[in-house]
Amino acid sequence: MRLLLTLLTGLLLTSPALADGIDAAWILRQLAQPAPSQTDFVELRGSALLKEPLRVEGQYRRPDVGTLVREVRAPYAETTTIANGQVSIARAGKPSRVFALQRVPELADLQASFGAMLAGDLGALEQNYRLQASGSAQRWQLQLTPKAEALTRRVRAVTLHGQNAELRCIETQPAKGDVQRTLLGGAASAAASVRQAAALNGLCDAGAAR
């Protein structure tokens, strides 16, 4: 889920903000953006197995309408490419692994909803999620709650945080485990020098960064 939503950041484009009256349709219109596009990201992955949360930096790219690339630059190099129903993962020093998108339902669900988001297709998105927008144009949230039972078994909810036409952060609440956050665009740049987990979490909330 997270991956595809983060890919939305590829749609990032600044556009004039509306004064108020935000809703899901308005947000989607803001986010819609033609390929090619790209945005930096910073992700934090907390785990009881790790001494401290794993901080991953990189870039999401959308080189063409049908392709999504997640490139990790630090602390290691890894490139994940999703295109034509296939996923390929390339890691430094290893041959890249290719498998069918359908073998990883998490990615398949996202691919299906991703198409709708890229096209700004509110109707298609609403087939899979209940959408709930809140906040103002300067500081909005869009909560996506999965409708399909298969999806709810993996993801409880996804919250997008944004400012005007900028998607700044995606919060994914998995069915089991802690919230995972992906900072994008301006928020990712702001996070470049921040090393404290709490401060990074704060950045997720668009208003807190200002």
């Binding site: 790790l50 794993l54 290691y76 993962i89 998490e106 990615l107 398949a108």
Partner: protein, 779 residues
């Protein structure tokens, strides 16, 4: 006996009711078994043994393939999950699989440590360098979008061995998964595999299983518009059983109405249908009782074939009724008929005796059933019916129409050489008609719609089930020996795959290595200090917590000391299906099966198998040889039966000329029916054979009665009346059967109907009472 008319018919009705009560009592008591093996000869070759085993109780025969379609993939996936959940808790089912537990959950918790013994591990699997690399890769996995999926596995399995094993255990072409469950290639049908505890050819249990699945699905599907489709041996036997039963009961009802009307029309009395039915009903029940007493279970086919064969006893009371006339006591009447009737019954019974020595359980049952039934019907006609029938009010000899008909028949020629020509022609058609003479395909013995078979093959291929025609078998004295022997075959098979002579193979040892191989792998696992030391070095270079992988150390140590995994340990897991299907365990031996797909060079595979002490089996050939074997036994029994029959008739008639006149119509009819069937391109099967036997039995009676029609003109007219009623009735019953949509019923119906017509006409031409000759002989 001074009984009033009311008493008599009252007694007849009481008799009928008693039969009804007895029938209900018996049907509750006898165990009708649908086990096809009881109707097959004993297997002689290993291939036949395996086939019979597979047919009855092999896991393949207990598999039901389920397809859900007609709704959106999400709905279907959800229904598939709900159905699996509902069926998994039902005791009838050994296994319900829809792809959900494949992969990670294919391995139950208690067997997880065995992941280090099932698949071969590289030599440096537990070195600090390799563990370090694995941990670095896990860190990246954790940081990937699928991190949440991987995290719970890491403490006990940082090298993701379970995924490696799950991947290795995946059938080479498992169906694709949508929303976690199996779907066909088109993504339109959710697929499930259900394995019952009951055998595939136990129609009762399969019916219950199919009903359970259908009703569970109905409540799950509600009004989503989706529908369910079941395939596999069990589903087929249920479907055929139901269709045959419903059609047979419809035809049976029509037949009963027709028979009642015909009997009423022939004798103009409402009592005749009741009286006429008594010998047949008594015969059937007596036959069933005899089989139930003498055998473990009554085979369903015995009942079906048996009741077909005793159709001849319906003629006994009719001959008796037609000879009734005012002024003659019923007892005198039946006594006069007895020599003719008795000759037929005794000759037929002696002929059926040969089936008793056929060596096939089903045929023995058939023999006991028919002999008991024929004798009962004859005795009932002889000793009970005369006491119950009202004194006759009319004599059929007075019928002007019958007299005119008789005159016409007297003018018919008595063919001699033309018959020889006819016989020669029939034999020529029989032998020269193109196409196979016999139908050897075992599948057609219990005919499944070709459409259903096609669908089954399609589902099988979607579910990745291999073709079953060719199979390699590896024998051992027990499961471990067979597993080890099949493991030794692997390198040779891999070479065949590399050379393209074979596309794919599968064997139980792939899922469950032999104990010896497991021991070998245990010795290659590191001891605890070595593992801890290597792990400490590997963890030190990563952000992982120092003691994050304690469960991993525990699992490896457990794998190192655990007793080898045995077939029985797998019970109830998805792996058990794979292993059970490929490992047949007998009392004092075991056979490992190697299933094959894409045999491009059968000879090469056969010789490789032979070279390694294994054997390539052609299941199709085995099944056909079994059917051919079976048929040849039936044919030998029949040849002996014909001889015995001729001998009995000869003893009774004491004149070769008369014997020839009686038997010739029956023999010619058999030739003619065979010629017609062959000429129409019909491949003959067991059901045709049964039809021919019944037709021959009828022919014998027609011959006997025509030949021995009585000395007076009046008696001859009465005999003609009886024979007309008999043959019209039989023709009615079996032509309706011949119109059935069920191939089995159609085969029997058309054969007998054709036989009745030929027998009647030929008996009329050949056997009819030679008035002139008799008076000459008398002179």
């Amino acid at each position: 006996m001074k009984l009033t008319s009311a008493h008599r018919i009252g007694l007849a009705i009481v008799w009928l009711l008693l039969l009804g009560v007895l029938g209900m009592w018996i049907s509750g008591r006898i165990q009708v078994s649908g086990d096809l093996r009881k109707f097959m000869p004993d297997a002689r070759t290993p291939a036949q043994k395996l086939l019979l085993d597979e047919l009855g109780e092999g896991p393949g025969a207990r598999l039901l393939l389920v397809a859900l379609s007609g709704a959106t993939p999400e709905q279907l996936a959800q229904q598939s999950r709900a159905l699996r959940e509902a069926l998994a808790v039902d005791k009838q089912f050994e296994l319900v699989a829809n792809g959900e537990q494949a992969g990670l959950e294919a391995f139950p918790e208690r067997l997880l440590p065995y992941r280090y013994l099932i698949d071969a591990l590289p030599a440096d699997a537990f070195s600090s360098t390799n563990l370090g690399e694995e941990l670095q890769a896990r860190l990246q996995d954790l940081g990937s979008p699928a991190g949440g999926l991987i995290e719970p596995l890491l403490p006990s399995d940082p090298t993701l061995q379970v995924l490696r094993v799950a991947e290795a255990l995946q059938p080479a072409n498992a169906p694709q998964r949508i929303d976690d469950v199996w779907f066909d290639r088109g993504g339109k049908q959710a697929l499930l595999l259900v394995q019952t505890h009951a055998a595939g050819f136990d129609p009762g249990a399969q019916q219950l299983a199919v009903d359970t699945i259908n009703s569970q699905f109905a409540s799950i599907a509600a009004d989503s518009g989706s529908h369910i489709e079941l395939s596999g041996p069990g589903a087929f036997s249920v479907k055929i059983g139901n269709r045959t039963a419903s059609e047979a009961s419809m035809i049976g009802t029509l037949d009963t109405i027709g028979m009642i009307l015909l009997l009423w029309f022939a004798y103009r009395s409402w009592k005749m249908p009741i009286l006429g039915f008594l010998p047949l009903a008594s015969a059937g029940l007596a036959g069933l009782c005899a089989v139930a007493l003498g055998f473990d279970g009554v085979h369903g086919i015995t009942i079906a074939f048996g009741f077909t064969l005793i159709g001849v006893v319906q003629d006994y009371p009719i001959h008796f009724f037609s000879h009734q006339r005012p002024g003659r006591s019923a007892w005198d009447n039946v006594r006069a008929l007895w020599p003719t009737l008795g000759t037929g019954v005794i000759a037929t019974c002696i002929a059926y005796l040969t089936f008793l020595f056929s060596g096939v359980d089903g045929l023995k049952q058939l023999s006991v059933f028919t002999i008991t039934a024929l004798a009962t019907a004859a005795l009932a006609t002889r000793y009970l019916l005369p006491g119950l029938i009202d004194p006759a009010t009319r004599d059929f000899a007075d019928s002007a129409r019958l007299a005119r008909l008789w005159q016409h028949t007297q003018r018919l020629p008595r063919p001699r050489w033309s018959l020889a020509a006819l016989a020669a022609l029939a034999v020529a058609v029989m032998l020269l008609a193109p196409g196979a003479f016999w139908q050897n395909d075992l599948g057609r013995l219990t005919p499944v719609d070709p459409q259903d078979l096609l669908r089954d093959a399609q589902l099988r291929s979607e579910l990745g089930a291999p073709d079953v025609r060719y199979l390699i078998t590896v024998r051992g004295k027990d499961a471990q020996a067979a597993l080890a022997a099949s493991e030794r075959l692997r390198s040779a098979l891999d070479a065949l795959v590399v050379n393209g002579e074979l596309e794919r193979y599968d064997m139980a040892a792939r899922y469950l290595p032999s104990a010896a191989t497991q021991h070998l792998r245990q010795q290659q696992l590191p001891d605890e200090p070595a593992l801890r030391a290597a792990l400490a070095i590997a963890v030190a270079g990563t952000p992982f917590v120092d003691d994050a992988f304690e469960p991993f150390v525990n699992d490896v140590m457990q794998a190192r000391s655990a007793p080898a995994l045995q077939p029985a340990d797998l019970q109830g897991t998805p792996l058990a299906t794979a292993v059970d299907g490929l490992l047949v365990q007998g009392e004092d031996h075991a056979i490992a099966l190697v299933s094959l797909s894409g045999l491009n060079d059968v000879a090469a595979v056969a010789s490789t198998a032979r070279l390694h002490g294994a054997e390539l089996l052609d299941m199709k050939q085995a099944s056909e040889s079994l059917v051919a074997d079976y048929r040849s036994r039936v044919l030998v029994a029949l040849a002996v039966a014909v001889l015995l029959l001729a001998l009995t008739v000869g003893l009774a008639l004491r004149s070769p000329r008369r014997v020839l006149r009686v038997l010739l119509p029956m023999i010619l009819t058999t030739l003619l029916v065979l010629a017609v069937l062959r000429g129409l391109g019909v491949e003959l099967n067991l059901f045709h054979l049964i039809g021919l036997i019944l037709a021959a039995g009828l022919g014998l009676d027609y011959g006997l009665f025509f030949e021995h029609a009585g000395d007076s003109h009046a008696d001859q007219l009465r005999t003609l009346h009886g024979l007309l009623v008999c043959s019209v009735m039989t023709l009615l019953v079996f032509s309706l059967l011949g119109l059935s949509s069920i191939p089995v019923l159609r085969a029997i119906g058309s054969t007998v109907a054709l036989g009745v017509v030929c027998n009647f006409v030929l008996a009329l031409l050949i056997s009819r009472h030679p008035t002139q000759e008799v008076s000459n002989a008398g002179a």
